[in-house]
Amino acid sequence: MAYSDKVLDHYQHPRNVGSLDKNAPDVGTGVVGAPECGDVMKLQIKVDDQGRIVDAKFKTYGCGSAIASSSLATEWLKGTHVDAAEQIKNTQIVEELSLPPVKIHCSVLAEDAIKAAIEDWRKKRAAVAGSPPNPEQQP
């Protein structure tokens, strides 16, 4: 299969590979996919008080297109507000990376990973807001 130059570039020089502290209250983690399907994506975002994504990291087990889709997603997420990030569609990833039809599921997975990470962060934030003030966090 011929890969587009952009897929090859992301595969050879993936952006933002790594991990954030999944227990931190300002970090949202999304893990989607399954080993038996041949791809698992972990996407993490670190969000500031204004809801702006200040950092994004990924790790992906999957084909070159899956790696490229998640690498591209982290690039797009950094500096974006979560509300805008939630609007990212898999079709934009398909277009940017020129993914062939057989690889569209990689872009779907990336979209799912973004949504899962944001949902995780929202849940954490709701839990923090809803819980009584933590004495340790008092100045």
Binding site: G33, P35, E36, C37, Y61, A66, H105, D112
Partner: protein, 404 residues
Amino acid sequence: MKTPVYLDYSATTPCDGRVVQRMLPFFTEQFGNAASRSHAFGWTAEAAVEEARGHVAQLIGAHPKEILWTSGSTEANNLAIKGVAEMYRQKGNHLITAATEHKAVLDPMKRLEAQGFQVTFLPVDSKGHVDLAQLAAAITDRTILVSLMAANNEIGTLHPIGQIGALCKQKGTLFHSDATQAAGKIPLDVEAQHVDLLSLSAHKMYGPKGVGCLYVRRKNPRVRLVAQMDGGGHERGMRSGTLNVTGAVGMGEAARICSAEMAVEVPRLRALRDRLQARIRAALPDSVVNGDPAACLPHLLNVSFPYVEGESLIMGVKELAVSSGSACTSASLEPSYVLKSLGLGDELAHSSIRFSLGRFTTEAEVDFAADRVVAEVERLREMSPLWEMVQEGIDLSQVKWTAH
């Protein structure tokens, strides 16, 4: 060293230079039709084809008259399976094969099944072997054919075809073996191994593409086939069509060279394969060798690399021409049915590479291949969430995945 390094000899081999030299005159000066009986052009072509037939027969311990030329192994398998089924339908309607056979055996079997035949697809164990007791139990008085390959194309596991042949002979059923991967690579003897039909392909043994053979036993018992190609009645009426003279000459020369050099070639390839395996396993001790190391083609190594995905790995080692055990690259996104038949977990089946070495593989190429694969596996593991989870002590089998 030239890159990419070719380590996909099980997919196809280059023509040996000696084969090409032998073929060349038959494209131009000696272009006759081997079926032309009225002039020297035809006689020359026929003599060359018959000499080639003799070389192929010698490679497998057959009589030259038992060799039919075909377009390759796929045709030979189709002719053997469908031809026997049609010929022996009055005797019975049951055929037996195994889950790990090539598609060129499985798909003709499935077509017969759709036409009302009964087909038993035997399972295999974790090394790719069928259980001979299970095979014996599956054979009934309605069984007309057992088809089991000599060597598996993905994992290299060798079936004990001598034992299978003896069993079939004792039970009175015909035995076909797809020897595409084995012929020219390991000794075969259709007499000693009681094989009734055997498929071979030229391009897997340093001959040209587009030509192959089907061995059809002539006596004890005499095997009859219904032709699947009707026409001029070539090849004793079993396979009509003007003979591919250049192809046959090439296959004959390829077979002759394999017979002559096998004793030297096999230990050389086995040593290279073992070297490749040792180098990979030393650096990546959790890599898994698939198949049966005790009964394997000498030149084939199939390895799974846990926590990295096969297609991305192959993409990363672009200086190597290897193939993925996973069929992802062929757009089906399913892991290899052969590896799944072994009971391999999906993540292992998704992560395998088949290295197949050949006549022109060097030690330097093997070392280069091992180093490149190890480096790429390490790079991809740094990117792999599965590897990270395992390092954190998470049992992947206990994780709730979101299958898609």
